[in-house]
């Protein structure tokens, strides 16, 4: 359903196991081989793969166009989900990926209620990629039909931003040192569970999130035994969520697993960066956070170790599947490793091959 992830088409129709995903990708491979054997696809495309490098490239395309159009995070991530759903059924060698990215954004803007005129989206895309975006608007409109059809008309997407806000509020408002007194009605079992009957309550809780990344709004305790996430940590979590769309996580896990994984990484990273760990600082910088190299600038509650303990406590009692969170964390860290060696120019050249001798 539209409000409730648990009854959503995302969970019921577009969430897969890793085995199912590999099965689908094997099917695409078979299809590619058939097309090549039949001469419909040139053989020189053989070494082009839908791997992390390619997916980073696609992710960057989506973000470039999104920035041009001044889009918020939500339509951009919706477009990324559309992109990965489409490429579960279709080989990227069969289509124009620049037009695909443009179409995903065009549709996502409409579905997320921030529509842009087809002409302005097409113009912006052509400014970025003049070689690849046709002047003819009907080509973009035509692609929209195929995109929707390939997604079996399921267009509504649940993203992790909402549960990020919910988890932040629970961490900030619960005394995890006296967890025996913890009242489970506090909403912990209810993360992303939608509202129970009354939309007015739900509306209120959503309002909390819309107050954004300002931790002062969520400051319900004074931070002795609860965990108030630092502004930097929230910003990093937010960026990690954005980056997670490069991976298969959004096709495998519910949104709250991804947001908890992102928070976990953010808190750990900030701790290690505080201790002058260079790799952590590098990832933080990618996420747009530049830490002052002064340890001990944090005033948000207990010390580093204490913060980690609270977070682990929370994870322990939260009924959230920790194995899934760990898997998500590992996947994201792997992505960042690959990203370190990513070469945009190399990819651009590779992608150029897609358009030759077809």
């Amino acid at each position: 359903m539209s409000a409730n992830y648990w009854n959503s088409s995302q969970r019921l129709h577009w969430q897969f196991t890793r085995e199912e995903l590999s099965e689908k990708r094997r099917n695409i491979e078979v299809l590619e081989n058939q097309l090549m054997a039949a001469g419909a696809l040139p053989l020189h495309l053989k070494d082009i793969e839908y791997d992390y490098n390619m997916r980073i490239y696609l992710h960057n395309l989506v973000h470039k166009l999104g920035r041009r159009l001044g889009l918020r995070a939500i339509p951009i991530t919706t477009a990324e989900v559309y992109l990965s759903r489409f490429l579960l059924n279709v080989s990227l060698k069969e289509i124009n990926i620049y037009l695909l990215v443009t179409t995903c954004i065009y549709l996502a803007c409409k579905v997320e209620e921030c529509p842009h005129h087809i002409r302005s989206i097409s113009n912006e895309a052509r400014n970025l990629w003049p070689q690849y975006i046709p002047h003819d608007l009907t080509k973009l409109a035509e692609f929209e039909f195929y995109l929707i059809e390939e997604m079996e008309n399921y267009l509504i997407i649940h993203n992790p931003y909402r549960s990020l806000g919910q988890i932040r509020n629970i961490l900030a408002s619960t005394d995890f040192a006296h967890i025996d007194n913890y009242n489970s009605n506090n909403g912990m079992n209810n993360i992303d569970g939608g509202n129970n009957g009354n939309y007015r309550d739900g509306y209120k809780s959503y309002g909390d999130l819309s107050s954004g990344l300002d931790p002062s709004n969520g400051k319900l305790y004074d931070g002795v035994n609860c965990l108030i996430l630092h502004q930097d940590e929230l910003q990093v979590s937010w960026s990690i969520i954005n980056d997670s769309y490069i991976t298969d996580l959004s096709l495998i896990f519910p949104p709250h697993i991804i947001s908890l994984g992102a928070i976990y990484i953010a808190v750990v990273l900030r701790c290690s960066a505080m201790m002058n760990d260079r790799a952590s600082s590098a990832i933080l910088r990618r996420a747009g956070v530049d830490l002052p190299n002064k340890p001990g600038t944090t005033n948000t509650g207990p010390n580093i170790e204490g913060r980690m303990n609270i977070l682990t406590n929370f994870m322990g009692i939260s009924n959230i599947d920790l194995n899934e969170v760990i898997e998500a964390v590992q996947e994201i860290l792997t992505l960042y490793e690959v990203w370190e060696a990513y070469d945009e120019n190399k990819l651009r050249k590779k992608v150029q091959k897609l358009f030759m001798n077809r």
Binding site: M1, S2, A3, S8, S9, L35, A40, H44, R72, I74, P75, V90, S91, E94, I95, N96, L99, Y106, L107, C109, K110, V111, E112, E113, C114, P115, H116, H117, I118, Q131, Y132, I133, P134, L137, T138, K139, L140, A141, E142, F143, F145, Y146, I148, E149, N153, Y154, L155, I156, G194, N198, Y199, R200, G202, Y206, Q352, K353, L354, F355, M356, R358
Partner: protein
């Protein structure tokens, strides 16, 4: 294989620029609407396109009937000659109907995208409230049975409550959009104006300047309210209930048209019609009243005393007396105090007296005529020349706007 730079084309050729080999592969695998469904006739046409009655060609489902909505294109005769981008309204309807499953919302079977057209296939409903109201008003103004009204309103509230719990406001509830199946199940239809409100990247107003057909439009919208709530749907439900009782629209105002500058005018006449029955609202009863953009224009209207009780007495007499509190709670001026759909389901009216039937027609002596359909030779490909069935007072607004 490494191609030297000089040999690379400046602009890729046209077929690789678009859908390439994929298009051919996909087009060959698609099953067309007409191979799946047999069109029996056409039911209605409106701003959105045309609706056809059809049955499945699958022998196992041959007794089942479907309504197929074909969305209209941009051109003058409504035919689609080229891809122009799916309208915001079609996009909403496709996305929401696919996601929402409830007994009292029109059930979408599938959406077929074929030859530049969108077809939405749903279960066929034999009746709608407008048609039922017409039947009664044209047969000597005989009242709709109380059990039928009770069942209808409960089922409508159930559907609306479901929409609201899913963060969706319908924004165009009116008798013509409330279907009833031959089994007496209410199906709320036409989600073309419906939108999610959990996550407004733009204000609700920014997307659509005008919502809800004028006679069913709530006072806060008429006063220019931009940050409205799901309560606007409940006002419409109140108007529908009034119409079911009176067999004519409760507030039959005339719509002031938009001026050339596309400014939304104050709907003086409609507001007047409401005030004549409901009395003039006051700041003491509706504290945010003076905050609305059109408060000044509103103040120039003649003051009326609350009159609902006598309106009710004169339309219903002693008939259906117990329904009055529900009507009055739905037609509450202050949207913050107006009955919510969720609370409406447990309103004392439904808990006392005659029990609520699952079937609108249970115990009713009335037999409503089947939906009229037109038979013409060239169904799917022919544009509508005249309207078979006009859903009076339709929403002539920017439904066709394309993005």
């Amino acid at each position: 294989m490494n191609i030297p730079r000089s040999q690379q084309p400046l602009m890729a050729d046209s077929s690789t620029l678009t859908l390439g080999t994929y298009k051919l592969r996909k087009d060959n695998s698609r099953v067309s609407v007409l191979t799946k469904y047999e069109i029996i006739g056409y039911i209605a046409s409106g701003t959105y396109g045309r609706v056809y009655k059809a049955k499945s060609r699958d022998p196992k489902k041959h007794d089942k009937l479907y309504a197929i909505k074909k969305f209209k294109g941009d051109s003058r005769d409504g035919e689609i000659t080229h891809y122009s981008g799916i309208s915001q309204s079609a996009c909403r309807e496709m996305a929401l109907c696919r996601e929402l499953n409830n007994e009292n919302i029109t059930e979408l079977i599938e959406t077929i995208l074929e030859k530049k057209c969108i077809y939405m296939v749903s279960v066929f409903a034999e009746h709608d409230l407008l048609q039922i109201i017409h039947y009664h008003s044209q047969n000597g103004m005989r009242q709709i049975p109380e059990t039928s009204i009770k069942s209808m309103i409960w089922q409508i509230l159930n559907g609306v409550s479901f929409l609201h719990q899913n963060w969706v406001i319908h924004r165009d509830l009116k008798p013509a959009n409330i279907m009833v199946t031959s089994d007496g199940v209410v199906k709320i239809g036409d989600l073309g104006l419906a939108r999610r409100f959990n996550n407004p990247l733009q204000t609700l107003f920014a997307g659509d300047k005008v919502v809800v057909t004028i006679w069913y439009r709530s006072p806060e919208l008429l006063l220019g309210g931009r940050h409205y709530t799901p309560a606007i749907d409940l006002w419409s439900v109140g108007c529908i209930l009034g119409e079911l009782l009176a067999l004519r629209p409760m507030f039959k105002g005339e719509e002031a048209k938009m001026d050339n500058k596309k400014n939304v005018p104050f709907q003086k006449n409609q507001m007047m019609k409401i005030i004549e029955i409901m009395g003039s609202p006051t700041v003491s009863k509706w504290p945010s009243l003076n905050k609305y953009p059109d408060y000044r224009a509103f103040q120039e209207l003649r003051v009326h005393q609350a009159n609902l009780q006598s309106w009710f007495q004169s339309t219903c007499g002693n008939f259906n007396k117990k329904i009055y509190p529900l009507l009055s709670d739905l037609l509450e001026y202050d949207p913050a105090k107006r009955l919510t759909a969720y609370n409406g389901l447990i309103h004392p009216y439904f808990l006392d007296g005659v029990k609520v039937c699952d079937n609108v027609f249970e115990g009713s002596k009335f037999k409503y005529p089947a939906r009229k359909i037109a038979h013409d030779a060239n169904y799917l490909n022919q544009a509508a020349n005249k309207r078979q069935y006009d859903s009076s007072g339709g929403l002539h607004i920017k439904k066709k706007q394309r993005y």
